[in-house]
């Protein structure tokens, strides 16, 4: 299988063979995924929430890092496409016995896998797996280290498009721990490609990666300035472990300056929507009244997430 060396997830026709990152994907490919997902949203609202597209195909959930939520959404999506789903939590079984990632993957490929959904704590792990699998196997990155979470980024784009229609007039703010966030990186790449003219990242300097402006974003250390007149507020999850080192003094101080509260949200446009990839830390990065408020689209995000994953899997399986 020839894959583009400049973007090893595209085949010679410029179609998706793997989904590893949203970086460098043409806008047409992103829109195709969003459009296809729209059709699947209809399917998920039917009596029988299932189509026969991937009948007989074996989808392996390879989770080298535990995540019940993401694994479940992929599992539901694959099952709604009629695929057979095999879940493997690998951190406890083979890895501790010293089997390498590639050996694990080779073994599973020998079980006639058609698709690997990969979650790994190390940035780039899905690239390495994609490089070594048989040409007919498709790899979907379900989150790798701090690098990318493309299906989350896509479902966020779906959500924004659903509520706002068009990206080319939007001002979007991404708030919180950008440094450690694979979600933020995927959101930034997708927004840039889809023509969003103004992307702001908001957070203390300890949580902003160096030269983040090179990704095409504007940096706002002050949340109140950063939220002014934005159409979309995308909150990020703050891991508790960030409070243990010297990155942040306390959850309380973070909440005071970077937590999304009603009064801070009031600085955004009145019809601004609020997204969060979940799971939320209420009272740390977001106030409950905002999370459950009328501007929150956090629950629809989850529904759209299944349709996005169905779209990604069916497009990959068909290419």
């Amino acid at each position: 299988m020839w894959l583009d060396p400049a973007n090893p997830q595209l085949n010679k026709n410029g179609e998706l063979h793997h989904l590893l990152s949203l970086e460098g994907l043409p806008a047409g490919v992103l829109r195709q995924i969003l459009d296809t997902a729209e059709s699947f949203v209809g399917v998920t609202q039917r009596e029988v929430k299932k189509v026969p597209l991937l009948r007989g195909k074996a989808v392996f959930n390879l989770f080298f890092e535990p995540s019940t939520r993401t694994r479940t959404t992929f599992e539901i999506a694959a099952k709604r496409l009629s695929a057979d789903v095999i879940n493997l939590a690998i951190n406890v079984s083979s890895q501790s016995k010293g089997e390498s990632v590639l050996d694990t993957v080779a073994n599973l490929a020998a079980m006639q896998a058609d698709m690997f959904i990969v979650r790994h704590a190390a940035s780039g792990a899905p690239y390495m797996i994609a490089k070594h699998v048989a040409p007919e196997i498709h790899v979907v990155n379900a989150g790798d280290g701090r690098h990318a979470h493309p299906t989350q980024g896509l479902l966020d784009m779906y959500t924004i498009r659903h509520y706002k229609g068009d990206f080319t007039q939007l001002r979007v703010a991404i708030v919180g721990d950008i440094l450690h966030s694979r979600v933020a990186r995927s959101q930034i790449h997708a927004l840039t490609t889809l023509g969003c003219p103004e992307i702001r990242v908001i957070g203390p300097k300890t949580l902003l990666p160096s030269q983040v402006d090179r990704l095409g974003v504007q940096v706002y250390p002050d949340m109140k300035r950063g939220l002014k007149d934005v159409d979309v507020v995308m909150m990020l999850r703050l891991q508790n472990e960030r409070m243990k080192g010297a990155l942040l003094p306390s959850a309380q101080e973070f909440y005071k300056y970077y937590g999304l509260t009603e009064d801070k949200l009031a600085l955004a446009k009145p019809d601004a929507i609020v997204l969060h990839p979940g799971p939320m830390n209420r009272g740390v990065e977001i106030d409950s009244s905002v999370a459950d408020g009328k501007q929150s689209v956090i629950l629809p995000q989850v529904t759209f997430g299944i349709a996005i994953r169905m779209a990604v899997m069916s497009i990959l399986a068909g290419n």
Binding site: V101, S123, G124, Y127, M128, H132, R146, R185, P209
Partner: protein
Amino acid sequence: MKIHIKSGRLVDPRNGIDAQRDLYLAAGRVVAVGDAPAGFSANRVIDAAGKIVCPGLVDLAVRLREPGYEYMATLESEMEAAIAGGITSLACPPDTDPALDEPGLVEMLKFRAKNLNQAHVYPVGALTVGLKGARLTEMAELRDAGCVAFSQAEAPFADNQVLMHALEYAATFGFPVWLRPQDPALAGSGVAHDGEVATRLGLPAIPSTAEVIALSTILILARETGARIHIARLSSAEGVAMVRDAKARGLPVSCDIGIHHAHLSEMDIAYFDPNCHLSPPLRSLRDRDALRAGLADGTIDALCSDHTPVDEDVKQLPFAEAEAGATGVELLLPLALKWAAESQLPLAAAIERITVRPAAILGIDAGHLTAGAAADICIFDPGHHWRVTPDALRSQGKNTPYSGFELCGRVSHTLVGGNIVYEKNINKNK
């Protein structure tokens, strides 16, 4: 054995020679340059027409992987690779397992290497026991066993007090200390340069400040203790500026960089190529250009291969988990030539930085072909193109960012002490 090396272009930077000259060798030494001594009758004539004859290369950092890492490479395989790369003298860092912190280990290594009758091996002893950065090794004993310098390799010091004492103690005996400047806390668990690429790829990062803060500490302590310091594997533009400044102020400090850092930058990581996981990390294009300029103006004295053969099992892993380092002994010459050509410098400039300059840092009489000098010689075809493939490399480590690339310049003969230890007919696949 008397050897006549005929019709080659002799490049001997120390003696300022770059011209067609014949070489005459006898009893392991150069006996004449240019005209044959009276009554010289060669047992063997090497036709070096169209080739370059230069001093055997001197490499400041070659991991032979023994003791302790024989699964990655062996003394035999890496010594073979070194002579295939034209290297006749090499220093090996102490980061073996166990570390080179006892005279017995050093003697054993020297003994085993000597029996192979290939390149001269100069062990660099551990500065602290087990490279743990806490207790000093028996440096004088280690020197007597054959260590030419002392180093921590990649390992950190517990604190600056230990570093200061180590330098004071080494200075007592005049032992050189080779240090790789990197502040361990600032480097943290980083695996790539703290810049655009690490930000994009979400890789834990090592800022340039990790290098320059450690470097400034080292330079201050060098001045205070009077220790002879060699800075190993500089990687940042600011680091180059600091060394240039220190040299201008008369501090007796020397400095090297690895060959990959003279050519590659963070951009070459592309999509997580584990072969570009190096230590120090490949930094920005600006840093790389500063290293190249520093190498040209003499701030950086030498190029070394920083040879690190790594086994596939620990290299074919996600970028951060993959073991750092690249194989290098067979790429040192072609990459040095590439640097000189791209910098529009004469070929002799490249040879100088991989022969006489590193020999001076090692404190050995090598890297030149004066009459009377040891006949450690490299003969190579500067126009021979070859593709870097696993089969083309003798090293057991096939890990290189240049895998699949074509390089120019290949060794046809390597002589150590007047013996032809490596010979390859490279004309046929030209």
